[in-house]
Each structure stands twice: as C-alpha cells, then as structure tokens.
Amino acid sequence: MNKKLFSVAAILIVLSMVLTACGSAAATTAAATESTTAAAPTTAAASTTAAATTAPASTTDASAGAPVKIVYWTFSDYTAGAPGDMMKEFINEFEAQNPNITVELVGKPDTDIESGLIAGASSGQLPDLFNLAYNAGEDVTSLGIVKDVSSMWNAMPEDYRQQFSPKAVQGLQVDDKMYGIPFTAYSAVLYRNLTVLKAAGIDPSAGIKDWNDWLSQMQKVQTAGYKAMGNYTGDGWFIMIFLGGIQGVQNDVVDGKTTITADQLAKAYDFLKSASPFCTDASPADQATSDLFTTNKLAFFPSGPWSDPTFKAVQGLDYDAVLIPGETADYAGGVHGGEFFGLTDGPNAEAAWKLATFLADKEQMIRFGAQLGRANFNDAAMSDASVQANALVAVTSKGASMGMPDAAYFKPFPLKVRQPLTDYAIQVVKGSMTSEDAAQKAIDTINDILASQ
C-alpha cells in the first residue's frame, strides 16, 4: 500500500514539475514574443512619424519591423453586407501597404463593444483599436483604458488634421488629452413615402415647412385612408428626434443639470400628442411599421441612415429622405451623433494608430460616404462632389449641423436619462398627465439621475 502511495505521490510530483517547467517555458516564450511585439511599435512609430511628415497616413515605408497583429472591434453593421465588403477592402489595402501588420476585424453590436471594453478593463482582454459612439466615450475613458493620443495627433501633418470637423475633434479633446480620431456620423432624417403623399393630395416637392404643416399633412394622409407615422413615444431616442426640432435646445450638462428645459420638452410632448390620432400604435422598431412604409400604407418614417438599405432593397418603392421638420419654418430638427476610433494603451498602439489614421483619411471616407450613403466627420471627404452627389449623405450632413446631439459627450452623462423622456411622453399621449407637468417631472428625474453620478 505504502509503495503504491509512494508511486502515486512520485508521479504527481513529476507531473507538477513537468507542468511547472512547461509553464515557465511558455511564460518565457510569451515574454520574448511580448518584447518582440513591444519593439515593433517603436519601428512602426518611427516610420509613422517619418511617413506623416511627407504624406499623411501614407504607410508605404511601414513594411519594416516585426510582425504585429492588431485586433480591431467595430460595429456589426460595418462587418456585414456592403459596408463589411468595403471595410475588408480597406483592410486589405492597409495590409498590402504594411506587410508586417495583420488586422483581425471583429464585428460587435455597439453595446457589446462598450461592455467588452468594461469587462476587458479588468481582465486585460482588450482590442488594440475600437469604434465607439461619442455618447459612450466617457464610460470607457473614465476607466482609464483609452489611450491619450494627443502626442500622436500633434505629430500628424497639419493638412491631415485639418480635414476633420473641428467640432468632432474638439469632442474628443478633454482636459488636454485626446481620446481618438473622429469617424462616422449620423443624423435622423425623415423618410417620406411619395406614393402615399401623392395619393393624399400632397405635393412632395413643396416640402414640410414646420410642425403645423407636418400635422396638416398627417391629417390629409389619414383622411385618404393611410397612416401617417409609427408610435414614437416608446423610446427616449425617438423623443429626441422631435425635441431636436426646437430651436435653441441643447443636450448638455451644466452644473450637474440638463440644459434641456421643461418648456422645450413640453413642446415636443404636445407635438407627439397632436400627431398621435394620425399614427399607428406600432413602434418604428416593429417590423410591421417598416412593412407599412414599404407597402405604401404609411407616409412618414423618421429614422437614421441605417434604414435606407432596407427601403432601397424594395423594388418600386418611391421614397425620399428630407430633414426632420422643426417647430418653426426656419429650423430643422432631428438628433445626431457619431462614432470615433479609440486606442487602448497596449504594445500595438502605434500600429493601431496607423490603421485608424488610414481608415479615417479622406480617400477612404470619400468611398464610405459616396458608396454607402453614410456621413462621416471627415469634412474634406464630405465636401467631395462624389459624396455630395449622394442625396442621403447631403441630408444627413445638413441635419447634423442642426437639431441636437444624442448626449453630452465625454462628460458624466448616463444614457439612462433617455428613460424619463419616454416614461412621461406616454402619459401625455394617453392623457393621464399634462405636457407641462410631465415635462417638469421628466426633467427632475433626469437631474436626479445626473446627480446620482
């Protein structure tokens, strides 16, 4: 028995020694790889700087250096379909110019990118480069996992830096730091079913002057036997589409309080209540609502540029996209936002920066805007004739200059503040609260949420 015990113990000891030896060998290999990889950015950095002085984002002399693999998280819709094909094309071009760099493109829903960064902050499993909405910027920068790229940005040539929207660049600059490069932008637009409008006796070319004009068109649509719009009270983002139509509305935080006033919100609630008799109860998020639009039974569909591919795919659908009407004739509404490239502070940061500067550069953004109809923060690309020829981009870029941003960027501003907007909108539309009382309660709740931060 003792002999057996001894043999078992001996085997266990030998096994543990072998495993320990393997472990340290692996650790040494890993350390060696890490040091090799760590060396690469220096080379990449040097070449980036050298390249930057001559030609912005040019990567022709970046082939030198040890192999680097960049993990890049982007939104799922940029890795599938036409945007996915374009993104892969960009990456192939980048890899051809930088033979030592390979890119692992990972598509994730926006909330998964944010939660992945939060979870990765403690586990260390972070991407080298990621895309994130401006409105989620503070959540991840407050964790200290986003690299301050101000020195890299300042090292870029002047004409490279000048091509971006100054507002979008400023949005990423907080307390002498810079948290990335501006990327894509969006603005809510109003899709109009021209077949329905004509059947209701409305001349689409006359446009929609203001909210009153819009309501009278809705009434005509209903009289002709159609529905005007979906139910826009079920989501805070939907409410912001209309709130953005009030001139002077600001979605910001000053002294820990929202800059949206109860009066402004009450106006948006009143508009939604006035529109409700002409609308279907189905939410725009329901398949039924977009089906109604594509089958010529619904006149208006306020949404973002992401709805366009669905409508475009429907043969014979006669529609256009215009600015969201504002409360008054001299203003257009809507809500707008955007996305940026962020870097984590890892050993591949220099190579990741190289990829980000390449993707955000004018040449790529022109193709992105012109072929996909998606706006971006590269002003030089947006003013290109081929991009402006795309009607949707032209409308979204104009919409982004009006309306209101979808959040206060890079400030403590939880998106949970959207919840009270919808909670009280429903009560106004159902008639259980006056718009003034509901708006005041919503603003108070928003301020409570902000105070809890």
Partner: protein
C-alpha cells in the same frame, strides 16, 4: 484514525479532487468574490474601495428596486400557477396518447423550449404588435380593442407571462409526463374496476403520486421566475442603458443588475443586488422545503 481513513480511501478522495477543484474555482469562488464585491465601490478597473453595506442601502432605496420587485412578485404570482397548471394539463392530456402520437405531442410542446430565445422574442414581438400583430388582429375581429402589449405598462407584464408560458410549459410537461409514466398501471386498472372516471383518476391517483416531481417543478419554476431576464429584456428591447421599456413595465431584478453593472459601471451595487436576489431565492426555496416537510408530517 485519520491516517487509517486516509490510507483506506485516498484513491477515492483523489478521484473527487477534479470535481472539487472546478467546484471551488467556478462556483464557490465567484460567490465569495461577489459577496466581497458587494461591500465595495468598484468600477472594474481601479482598486475596490470598502464601503460596508452602503451598496445594499443604495439598492434597496432606489425606485428601480421597488419597481423590479413589484414586477417580479406580480409575475411570479401569475406565471407559476398558470405555467404549472398548463404543463400538468398538457402532461395529463399527452399521457392519454400512446406510441407515435404521444412522441409527436411531447416533441411539439417541447419545441418552444429549444428555439433560441432571441428568435422566440422576435416572433412574439411580431405577434403582439399593436393593430397588425396576429393576436391583436384576432382581438379586433372579435370586436375587442387592439392592445399595446409591448409598450403599455398596463399590459407589459402579461406579455412576459404569455411568452414564458409558451416557452416553459413544454419543458415542465416533459418532466411531469415522465413522472406520470412511472406510476404503476395497477393503480389505474384497480380504479377502472371501481368505475373511476378520468377526472377522478387524475385527482386521486395521478396528482398525489406525482407530488415528488411536481415539487421539483415548482421549486425550479420559482427560481427561474425570480431570475427572469431574457424574455422581458428582448421583448422590451432593453440595453445596458435603459431597461424594461416605458415606465419600467418589464423591469425585472436581473435586468436592473445588468444595467447597474454595465450601464452605470457600478459593480458593487450590481453584486449587492445579486446577493439580495440570492437570499430571496434561498428563503423561498427553504420555505418550500419546510412546507413540504410540514405537510408530510401532518
């Protein structure tokens, strides 16, 4: 004594080691870690700061906690009797079939349980759409009004009950059917001789003899309804920032925990809420065992 015991059973203990290693690593350690986390303010990156029971106080005093608990109790009171009643009814019905048809109905009722939940939620959102969804079209044909199941806080909880019933009834039915099939035929034959009808058979033979399985089904139903998450999350199109739809009509405790952890990045509060939910599950389960024991002794 200890040495003799060890000498005699060492190899058996060694065989148990892998299980205990995994049990401690993946079960015990996370629970203890969560308990520790619930006493700290932690954003996942910076070192946690010990705050005592502050997280528990914050969670209990928040309006979302009261709303989540109210929805949960409402849901438990509706979903458990309805769910188990339906499962039992289906099991009794399917048990009356033999051969192919029994297998067919068993598979058909079990099918919703194996359909991926996101797909089920999508189908149900479509069925429940106001005015145009199948259910509302039927209601309107019957002369009733269309109901906004997904956005009207008055009806949102019933939508969750409906989807949960559709999903879980088949699973519970399979368990109960297995129990029914294990009841010896002799009882039914003797009952037939005494002229018992199918209803009396169910009440006086099947249900009493099914008690051990019914108990397991009830305990499991309580735990899963208290932890309800996926159905309301998907139906209300929740995300880490906003959960439960308008007026929190579908806000459940686990959804609130997700929001606190990944929306507000307050892992301490999320852990405290999880501990509270764990205690609720524990108390409810222990109570059920006590009631069963008391009933058996009576």
């Amino acid at each position: 004594m200890f040495r003799t015991l060890m000498r005699k059973n060492l190899k058996h203990y060694l065989m148990l080691v892998p299980f205990f290693v995994f049990f401690v690593l993946f079960f015990l350690w996370p629970i203890l870690y969560g308990l520790g986390m619930s006493l700290a303010k932690w954003n996942g990156v910076q070192p946690p700061v010990f705050v005592g029971f502050q997280n528990y106080i914050k969670v209990i005093h928040s309006s979302d906690f009261a709303l989540g608990m109210k929805n949960m109790v409402h849901f438990v009171l509706l979903a458990i009797p309805l769910g188990i009643g339906t499962a039992l009814g289906l099991a009794l019905l399917v048990a009356r079939f033999r051969g192919f048809w029994q297998s067919f109905f068993r598979a058909a009722y079990f099918l919703p349980f194996v359909i991926p939940i996101f797909l089920s939620a999508l189908i149900w959102r479509w069925l429940l759409t106001p005015e145009y969804g199948f259910i509302n079209v039927v209601l309107m044909k019957l002369g009733l009004q269309s109901i906004d199941w997904i956005s009207d806080p008055k009806y949102m909880i019933y939508a969750v009950v409906l989807v949960d019933l559709w999903r879980a009834a088949g699973f519970n039915m399979v368990l109960l059917l297995a129990g029914i099939k294990s009841i010896p035929e002799d009882y039914y034959e003797a009952a037939k001789v005494d002229g018992v009808n199918p209803w009396q058979e169910a009440i006086h033979i099947t249900i009493p003899l099914l008690e051990p399985i019914l108990f397991v089904v009830i305990v499991n139903a309580f735990i899963s309804t208290i932890q309800m998450f996926d159905v309301p999350w998907l139906l209300s199109r929740s995300d880490y920032n906003t959960q439960g739809g308008p007026l929190g009509g579908m806000l459940f405790p686990v959804m609130d925990i997700m929001g606190r952890a990944f929306g507000s990045i307050k892992f301490g509060e999320a852990a405290a809420y999880s501990v509270i939910l764990l205690l609720i599950c524990l108390v409810v389960t222990v109570l059920q065992f006590l009631v069963r024991r008391w009933h058996a002794q009576k």
